[in-house]
Each structure stands twice: as C-alpha cells, then as structure tokens.
Amino acid sequence: MNETPTVVVQNLCKAFVGPDGKRFAAIDHVSMAVRAGELTALVGPDGAGKTTLIRMMAGLLKPDSGSLQVLGIDVAAHPQSVQDRISYMPQRFGLYEDLSVQENLDLYADLHGVPQEQRHERFTRMLDMTDLARFTERPAGKLSGGMKQKLGLACTLVRSPDLLILDEPSVGVDPLSRRDLWKIVQQLVDEEQLSVIVSTAYMDEAERCGRVVVFNHGRLLADGSPGTLRQRARGMTYTASPPQGTPARELQARLIDRPDLIIDAVPRGGNVRFIRRAEEDEPRLKDVLRDAPYEPRPEELEDAFMMLLRQQEGEKGATKPSGEAPSIAVNGRQDQPVIVVRDLVRKFGDFTAVASTSFEVIRGEIFGLLGPNGAGKTTTFRMLCGLLPATSGYLEVAGRNLRTARAEARGRIGYVSQKFALYGNLSVRENLEFFGGAYGLRGQTLKERIAASLEQFDLDPSAQSGILPPGYKQRLAMATGLLHQPDILFLDEPTSGIDPLARRAFWRTITALAKGGVTIVITTHFMEEAEYCDRIAIQDAGKMLALGTPQQVREQTAASGAQDMNSAFIAIVEQGRAQREIAANSI
C-alpha cells in the first residue's frame, strides 16, 4: 500500500487569464509525487499556485496539459470516482451558518451518503477531537473563526477518506486555534495512517510535515523533507544583537537595505536573525553590522524558504530599498502620548466586547494589538479610528477627544484596512485625488503630495486600482493613508494575504515612518511581526492580558518556557482563560 504514491503529477500546466486580461501560468510544468500515509505540505506565498494544484487534484479544475493521477485514477477523466474517495476542505468551507453544529454534520453526512449506523461513532469521534461536543446545538454562524474552521474539518471528515486535502486551513486563524487544528490533523495521520496534503503559508506548520514542496509563481522550487530543505541554508544563518538603545527593527532595516550582502533579515526576540550571501566576505559584512555583534545560529526551514524565494525573485530586485523616512513634520514633544485610552468599554447588547481597557501610545511608537479571533482587538481598533462609538470611557487621539471632536481627530489619522478598501474601478491617481480632497487638500499642495507619494511607493498613476497585484494594492492603501501626513497611522492586519518578500518591504516602510515620527497602531495575526513593535498589547475576551515591549511580554511567560512570540502568546491567553475559569467557578 505504502509503495504506491497517492498522487502523481507529471509535467502539469494550467493557465488563467488575469484581471488585466493577460494570460499567466498558475501551474507551470510541475512534476511531483505524494507518498501514502504521510503529511505533505505545499508551501508558498499567495498566488504561488497551491490552490490551483489542489483544485486540480480534487477534480474541480481540468489541467491544460500534463497528467495527474490521484489514488491511481486519472482525475481529469474520472473526477467523480476520485471525489468519492477523497475529502477536500476548501479555503472557505461552506458551513451553513443558520444550522447548528449537529445539523451541519448531519447534512454533510447525508450529502456523502454515510450509512446511519456508522454516523454515531464517527460524529462522537469528530466532536471529541474538535472539542465541539459542548456546542452541538449552537448555530455555526455564532462560532468563533477557529471553531468554524474546526467544524469545517469535522464536516469534511464525516466519512473516512483515502486522502485528505486541506487548502490553507489555518488562514485567518489565531495561534491557539491553529495549534488545535494541527493536533487533529496529526492525530489522524498517526492513528489512521491517513494521507494528508495541506497547503500553508506558515513555516512552523510546514516543519511538522514529513514532506515539504515549495512553490512560487506556479513553479516547483524545492521538494524534500524539512531536514533536507534546511540544509540549503547551512552556514549562512546568523543572529546579530543590536547595540543598547537601538530597536532591533532599525538594525534589521540596515541589513535588509543591503541585498548585495544579506539575503534576509528579521527581528526576533530582541535580536536580528539574518541570512548572509555565501559568496560575500566577512569584512564587508562587519562593515554593515558595525557595532552589532553577531554569531552563527542553526538554520531553519524558514531560512531555506526565504532563500528559495529570493533566488527566484531577487534577481529582478523585488524589494528595492524604500529609501529614507518620508519627510513628515512632527509637532509636539517626542515622549508625549498621542493616544490616551482610559476605562474604555464597548458593549453589544449583553455582550461586552471590550471591558474597561486603558493604555497610552507614545508619539513615534509602533504599537501592536494582538489577540485571538473575537478577543476584542478589532472592536478596540475600530473605536480608536472613530469607526465605532465607545459605550463608556475616555478616548483621546492626536490630542482630540474622540467624543467631542470626532471629525477633527479623524483628520489627524490615516487608516489602512484589512481588505483592499479603495475604489477598484478608479485609477491610482483618482483614488489619491479623492482621498486627498477628503482630507481637505487641494490645488498645488494636493498635486505635490500625490507626485511625492507616487514616487515614494513606486505606483503607476494611470493603473486601475482594482486589478493591481496584492502587494501594490497595499502600497496604494498606504499611500492613501499617508497622503495627508497624519500623526497616527492605523493598520488593520495589513500583512495578511501578501507574500513574505512584500511583507519585508512593508515593514521596512513602517520602520522608516516610525523613525520619521509617525505613530503606528497595528493589528496582526503573524506573531513574529510583533517583534517589529515597540510595545504590544494582548487582548482576550475583551480584557487586556499583557502590555509592554515584546521582551517584557516574553518574560511574563518565562516560567512556561516560551521562547518565541507565538508560544508566549499562547501561554498568556491560556493563563488568562484559566484565571477566568477559576474566577467563574468561585462565584
């Protein structure tokens, strides 16, 4: 059984017509084989072709050329016989929001024709694994994002498949739910010797798999076990410590601005981890690092992944250094708070989304709001931007009270939303003109600002905004948010859905802005991005659980042995939940 591969892909091609009317190859001459009884990860940035490949495996798309065999069957010729034997969970699983958890399970069991006598046992096992047994009566629409995803997985697995295919099951899911989800998948592989193919953008998830296949722009870049892939970065990985008083992100910015010497650099745990180019010599490296001491560190899968991406894209200089800090006139003292929040409360009916929260954000600071799905961070964020009125409490933004001077306060902030929220059928220039006008800019001033920001963000003014690639859409959103030179820039999950290289470029810009005196408030799902922040706040169930520098937050959980931000986050949220349970039981 184990000798025959579950999936055999040979010279597979699939092209689509892009929004700009041009054809592009979503899958470009890919050949690979997936072993049975193993967990195989398809990794790659958004738009790499992972979903296209998965949909072809599930018989939902026909390949243009090449052959594709799943469980020994030619999918293109007999999609139904493949579909009868596999379980496929698409990125957005079709749960019926008005039906209860149990009704959803019943429905999917009916759809797949699961015999009545098998259901009870299967349901019990699924509900037990997903920890949803307590919620069988709850409508699916009222579950949190993580729970919905788990229910989706349970519905996918109402019958026992020969192959399980999961398309980015952890997208938009917080670290806690992500961990639970992977526990379930791991359990299935261990106990049922199930073959699983999973696509992901997270390297820590890929690391758990027996086999990792790396894609980018429709091409297969590498294929092997995490151990063999890691080898590629051997001897090139280092950690540098910034000198006292310098934020790690500034050292990181210095390194990433030298693509001739450094392949990649990220702040991590107060230090900067970087990958050097093998061919470059020590003295030049020392020259860039200056007063920052550095030492080798063991290579990781992520290092190899970044190297592969850079190799493919680096030649054309994908991340051109975004230059020096944009000239932004900063008025007021440096250490003054620009956001003051005291006893902020927001209730929706009986439900308290944000409970008595207080904090301050200082000028020029990068402030990160983190929390699991439904923790209240979005609500807090929306209140800070003036999108949602507070139920009670004091809220001051850029020196203006948000209750009494809402429009004035809004004039001093910039906002970049999670989804692309500019007018898709207007051109880049028209969007900038409109939002400039909205902030009271006109005439010569408006013209100059638009010209400057087109230059700074490298945008084509006549391009239609709606069909820009995701990275450029985000640049436009940033340009729009900064056009009126705000004191504070609010960014809501700005890096979800853009590839790691674009994320590096994005953070390079943020670092420059903060250096120029702009205060940044940001929410993110990527815990490692908290390392760029000066201070972070972790919320759960509407309460502030931790507030401080990333270092302080990590130390708060030192007892639990948390090394990185991800495990620190999980530890803090779990501590908070345990305490709440104790408090609830003592009443």
Binding site: L387, A407, E408, A421, G437
Partner: protein, 370 residues
C-alpha cells in the same frame, strides 16, 4: 470665506468621486440612458386603453334597411371590424369564447318593423367582460353610434349630452400616461441608484475608509445625494423630451416649475433610497428593499388607477408616497399648465418625506449597529 471654500471643496471631492465611479463602469453608463429611453417608448406605444381595433360579429336576423344602415355606420368608424357574420344564435357563444370577437351585435327579426313603426326597437350587445375596461369603452362606443343613428331618424331625445374633454380633447390615454412617466420611470432608477450607493460601499469595505476621513455625515449625505438627484433629473429629461418631441404631446406649463417640482420629487426619492442604503447590509438587501417599495409606490401613485377610487385607509397612506404627488404635479403642470399657486400643496408631502428621510440616512451612516 476660506472655511466655506474648504467645505465646498471637500463636498466636491466626494461628488466628483461618486460621478466618476458611476460613469467609469460601462454597464452603468448604459443604465443611465437606455432603460429610460426604452421604457418611454414602450409605454408610449404599448400602454394604452384607447380602442383602435374592435373585432365584432353580427347576428342579423332582420336583414332590413335599418339594420344595414346601422352596421354600415359601425363599419364606417374604422374602429369596428366585422370578423364574422353569424346565422344562428347558437354560434354566438363560440365567437366570444374563442376571443374572435370582443362584441357581438344581435339584431332581432322584428327590428325593421319596429323602427319603421316608430316603436322602441331593442338591440342586443354582447360584450367580452373578461377585459372590463375595453368592453366598457366598446359598449359606450356602440351606444354613441346608435344615438347618432337615432338622431338621423328624427328620434330626438329631450336631453342631449354634449361633452368636451379639456386638456386631452381626444381623451387619448397616452396623454394621461406619459407625463406621469416623467416622474415614475425616473423614480425606479433614482431609488435603485441611491439604495445601492452606500450598500455597495459597505459591501466592498470602502465605506469604512470613507468614515475614517474627516467628512461629516452632512457632507457624506450631500456627496451621495447630489449625483443621484442629477441622474434622476437626467432621466426625467430624457423622458420629457421624448414625450414632447416624439409623441408630440403639447406642454402647457412652465418648464422651470416642472423642474422645480421634479427636483423636489427626486430629492424625496433619493432620501428614501439613501435611507434604504444606510440600513441595508449589502447590495442584495438594498435591492430587495427597493423592489419591495417600488410596487406599492406604483400602485398607490394614481398612475394607472385614480387615488380617489381607493379605500379611505389606502388614500391616507398615499400621502407618504412621493410618487403620488410627483405624478400629480407633473401631470398638472404639463397638461393643465398649472401655476405654482395651484400645486403648492403637493410640495408639502414631498418636502416632508425629504426632511425626514435625508437626515435619517445621514444619521444611519454612522450609527447603524454593525
């Protein structure tokens, strides 16, 4: 002065953006002109109660000079066309049942003698009542022909009705219908456009981006309302020009007053549309609400059936219907040449609707609970 200019510049930015998004979409561009054009022509030709062709059958059992003369008069109208000449009363039901004839005229065998003797001569007219209004018109047409024949025979009745219909001398239903369309056709488009404007932004996420700008609710309201009103007036103008120059229905009133009335009417419609838009979560909901409202607006407007024929309670309800006063005002200006003094009352319910819905929409923009 400077602040005033700043204010106007901001509002202009929003109006400009709204117009751009409207015009940039090719589907939108056709929507602005084609439906108004098409519907005006369709209604002009299609929606009419006028009788121009009445198929009829005859059962002439008298076959005398009097019956021949009467039938000749009927045929001479150009409206009545004989489709069958029946020979027995048994065939009578068949022609009506099969809708071959709308009217059957049955002349009894003693018709000739009675007319000659100066006696009352009954003439049976059988109508297809399945279409009551056409049958009614046909019946009255027959009566008037019989009356004029009576007169030619010298049977002058003591009272003769001489009617002249003002404003629409030939009582063409097109004259009644078309000016009403200036208001009603543009209502559909204006309502839809306004209802989608905020709902679309909410659905696409752009509304949040708009709300974080320093725009005040009033500025957003103006920015959203002005383009919809302009589009409404554009549509009204298209229909107005078609009626005036294509169907050649004479305009008796002042163009300025007509446009003042149309502006007030369109503003009230936009107020309703924007309120729908501010409540709706997405475009689908906005469409649903709009369709739910358009039907009663049309039925209770007096476009097809007079408001005074409706039950008392429904008549009260029509005061909330801008279309009722829109149609009435436009008709009266167009056909009667009514002056401002004559129609001043109609502005009150229109303004009332606008004054309630527009601020409601502005308030809802920001205060609608997520």
């Amino acid at each position: 002065m400077r602040r005033c200019l700043d204010y106007l510049a901001k509002v202009w930015a929003l109006v400009h953006k709204e117009m751009l998004t409207l015009v940039k979409d090719p589907a939108n561009r056709t929507l602005l002109i084609v439906p108004a054009l098409m519907q005006a022509l369709l209604y002009g030709y299609g929606a009419t109660y006028d009788l121009t062709n009445v198929p009829y059958a005859v059962l002439d059992q008298s076959r005398g000079a009097a019956s021949t003369e009467l039938l000749a008069r009927l045929d001479g109208t150009g409206v009545f066309h004989r489709v069958a000449t029946l020979t027995s009363s048994g065939q009578l039901a068949g022609v009506i049942d099969r809708s071959e004839a709308l009217v059957v005229i049955s002349i009894p065998s003693d018709f000739e003698e009675r007319v000659a003797a100066g006696q009352q001569a009954p003439l049976q007219v059988i109508l297809d009542g399945r279409n009551s209004s056409t049958a009614g018109s046909a019946a009255s047409y027959v009566s008037s022909i019989v009356a004029s024949y009576n007169q030619s025979l010298g049977n002058v009745s003591s009272i003769a009705v001489v009617s002249r219909s003002w404003f629409n001398p030939n009582l063409e239903s097109r004259w009644n219908m078309m000016p009403g369309l200036i208001a009603s056709l543009s209502l559909i488009q204006t309502l839809m456009l306004a209802a989608l404007s905020v709902a679309r932004e909410r659905e696409q996420g752009t509304f949040d981006q708009l709300l974080v700008t320093p725009f005040t609710p009033l500025q957003i309201l103006i920015g959203k309302a002005v383009p919809s009103i302009l589009v409404g007036l554009l549509q009204s103008t298209i229909i107005f020009l078609i009626i005036l120059f294509w169907f050649k229905i004479p305009m008796n009133g002042s163009v300025w007053l007509l446009y003042l009335a149309l502006f007030t009417f369109t503003t009230a419609s936009v107020g309703i549309g924007l309120s729908i838009s501010a409540v709706a979560l997405n475009m689908q909901q906005a469409m649903l609400y709009t369709f739910m409202l358009i039907m009663p607006f049309m039925l209770l407007s007096g476009l097809l059936t007079p408001v005074r024929n409706m039950p008392e309670a429904l008549q009260m309800l029509t005061y909330a219907n801008p279309l009722r006063f829109g149609i009435d005002t436009v008709r009266r200006i167009y056909l009667e040449g009514a002056g401002l003094g004559d129609i001043a009352f109609n502005f009150i319910p229109l303004l009332a609707v606008a004054i309630i819905t527009l601020p409601l929409a502005a308030w809802l923009f920001r205060n609608r609970l997520a």
